[in-house]
């Protein structure tokens, strides 16, 4: 596995999830409501270690809220969310959850526009995130190699010293995925990775995400059905804040409920 104990300095942050049962993320009976509107309604979801899971669902089905709950941005009214068996995510804030090994890519690509691509990755590297260490921090050769490797993976080697703000939309998406990789998370939450990408870019993103599964667990939220079809082994359909169906793409497509509420809309449009 990739969690090679890290440096001793990290001991307290390095909460490694207990995945002996093969499940890395437990979301159980979670409900969230905003001013009476139930964004998540008694939702339960389990993500297996090393799995690539796609979440689909119409607008307002609760996909982004679910991501917010997992990453600590939104606290659920009831329910239980844990990382592996032991680590209860509800008692932790965004930073602690990120340090525990859950990385998130936002719907709108968010990179540090004024910093270079290289610096964006440098900041995202796994390591001590304290002030004083970073004041005197120097990149080790190992870390430089790591950044180099990620640059190759996400195909931004040439843009290495360019300001991130000057990248194209698709490149920003990749940079953000690269930033996730640099943090060496166990679980990646990827919100709409191919929005605004060209066909070719989409294809490469699909390749990238499938190659990540196994070593990491990946949850992808996406609207683009063709894309989902190309990467998904298992798909979860959300509808009005709860799980409507779960299974392989072909099972989902033949599920009459799903066809009615979601896929039906697509063929109808």
């Amino acid at each position: 596995m990739m969690n090679k104990a890290g440096s001793p300095l990290l001991a307290e942050d390095n909460i490694s999830p207990d995945t002996r049962h093969g499940v890395i993320l437990y979301v159980e009976d979670v409900s969230v409501s905003f001013d009476g509107f139930k964004a998540l309604n008694d939702l339960s979801l389990y993500i297996n270690d090393g799995e690539l899971r796609c979440l689909i669902g119409a607008n307002g089905a609760g996909k982004t809220t679910l991501m917010d709950v997992i990453t600590g941005k939104t606290k659920p009214d009831v329910g239980n969310v844990s990382f592996g068996q032991q680590v209860n995510l509800l008692g932790m804030d965004e930073t602690e959850i990120a340090r525990a090994g859950i990385g998130r890519k936002f719907q709108k690509p968010t990179v540090f526009e004024m910093l270079t691509v290289f610096e964006n990755l440098e900041l995202s590297l796994k390591g001590d995130k304290g002030i004083w260490t970073n004041l005197f921090h120097k990149l080790s050769g190992e870390q430089k190699d790591k950044i180099d490797k990620i640059l190759t993976t996400v195909g931004l080697k040439k843009e290495c010293y360019q300001q991130a703000g000057a990248l194209s939309h698709g490149q920003k998406q990749w940079l953000e995925i690269g930033m996730l990789l640099a943090a060496e998370p166990r679980l990646l939450l990827v919100d709409e990775p191919v929005a605004g990408m060209t066909g070719q870019e989409t294809e490469r993103t699909a390749e990238l995400l499938t190659s990540l599964a196994g070593e990491h667990s990946v949850v992808v939220v996406e609207h683009d059905m063709a894309f989902v079809r190309s990467i998904a082994r298992k798909v979860t359909v959300l509808h009005q804040g709860s799980v409507l169906a779960e299974g392989s793409m072909s099972e989902i497509q033949s599920n009459p409920e799903v066809v009615r509420v979601y896929l039906g809309e697509e063929t109808g449009a």
């Binding site: 942050d13 965004e94 930073t95 990385g103 004024m114 995202s124 995130k129 002030i131 004041l135 921090h137």
Partner: protein
């Protein structure tokens, strides 16, 4: 290799060099050339420029939080004033029994208020070392408390700016009160000596100027080190996207508090250097308007560029001195006009102007090249 190292230092050697040369110039021309000589620099001028250098250090402090971390503080005048008051207390104690009332222990205003002993917070202010500690600790502590509360509850943007204004205004009102023990609306003044040297002597003035220039250089070096460290890049990242920073495992509020405290301390040092040179500190320094003016210096000089902040403070302060001598009532209009013009025409401030020109020149050159080949 050498070139790489030089590149890393950036504008640091230039700024330090300029400060060193101007200090040397001022020292020689004030002390070595007699009055009336064409090369003589008057003590008045020395003090005036010493004051500008204090402003420059203050601008540097504001640029650190605003330019690099995106915290628009409209209350940095408060930290400046607190540093100034700390130094003022020491200078008051240096007067000793030479005050109007001749009380060896109490400053005049306390005798006037019929107090018979020093308030507890004046304890130890006769020690210069303790004063130096207060200069850093006073502003630092206030910034820590204010910053912790504001940044932990994720107050940012305009709301934060308004709160900083309220903070400095509250302190203005508090320091106006005689019961505060800081001389009420008269403040602290009539200083005589610093470390036993008369504040009126030319040598002391020149030394104060040199010390100010040194601290400005040190402050610049410190800021330069911070913004070029990985820590500085985290701070810039917080400015660009605080949420992203949080989701990659940093605690933005800790970073913001830290940089806010460092900046407040720099402002405090600037205030402490300012007071012996101008000879007075009063609650007017807490005025919200002062804090806004600092922000204008930084905006004009170039937000997010350290030497820009210095240039802004120097240029605007000099203009103010000149302008208020001719048409005092029109100064605020001129300042406002300058601010609008710079924001419209030079979004990166004066510091961004020269690189912009160079860039344009380079572009013209590369545009022309292919044509030359054709002809």
């Amino acid at each position: 290799m050498m070139l790489d190292k030089l590149k890393k230092l950036g504008s640091l050697p230039v700024v330090v060099g300029c400060l060193f040369i101007s200090t040397l110039y001022v020292a020689i021309c004030n002390l070595a050339f007699p009055e009336g000589s064409a090369l003589h620099v008057s003590t008045y001028t020395v003090t005036l420029f010493g004051k500008y250098l204090c402003y420059a250090l203050l601008a540097l402090a504001v640029d650190l939080v605003w330019g690099y971390c995106g915290i628009l503080s409209l209350g940095h005048g408060a930290f400046f004033a607190l540093g100034g008051y700390a130094m003022g207390m020491y200078l008051m104690r240096q007067i000793g029994d030479r005050g109007v009332y001749g009380n060896p222990e109490l400053p005049d205003f306390m005798v006037f208020l019929n107090w018979d002993s020093l308030p507890w917070y004046w304890a130890g202010t006769d020690s210069f070392i303790w004063t130096l500690f207060l200069v850093l600790a006073g502003p630092g502590l206030l910034a820590y408390i204010f910053g912790s509360m504001a940044f932990r509850s994720r107050v940012s943007g305009v709301y934060l700016s308004i709160m900083t204004q309220a903070m400095t205004y509250a302190l203005l009102l508090a320091f106006f009160r005689n019961e505060m023990g800081f001389g009420g609306n008269n403040g602290l003044t009539d200083f005589k000596d610093i470390l036993g040297f008369s504040l009126q002597s030319d040598t002391t003035r020149v030394v104060l100027f040199a010390v100010t220039a040194t601290f400005l250089a040190l402050g610049f070096a410190l800021c330069h080190f911070i913004v070029n460290s990985k820590m500085g890049r985290v701070v810039t990242a917080i400015r660009d996207s605080e949420n992203r920073v949080r989701f990659i495992g940093y605690k933005p509020e800790h970073y913001k508090v830290w940089i806010f405290v460092v900046s407040a301390m720099l402002a405090g040092v600037a205030g402490a250097l300012y007071v012996p040179q101008v000879g007075i500190i009063n609650p007017g320094e807490f005025s919200p308007l002062n804090s806004i003016e600092i922000v204008v210096w930084v905006a004009i000089g170039g937000r997010g560029s350290l030497y820009g902040a210095i240039i802004g403070a120097l240029v605007v302060s000099y203009a103010k001195t000149r302008f208020t001598a001719i048409m005092p009532e029109a100064w605020l209009y001129a300042l406002g006009g300058l601010f609008v013009l710079v924001t419209l025409l030079l979004p990166k401030g004066l510091a961004g102007f020269v690189p912009q020109l160079i860039e344009k020149y380079k572009q013209n050159k590369t545009d022309k090249k292919p044509q030359e080949v054709q002809s």
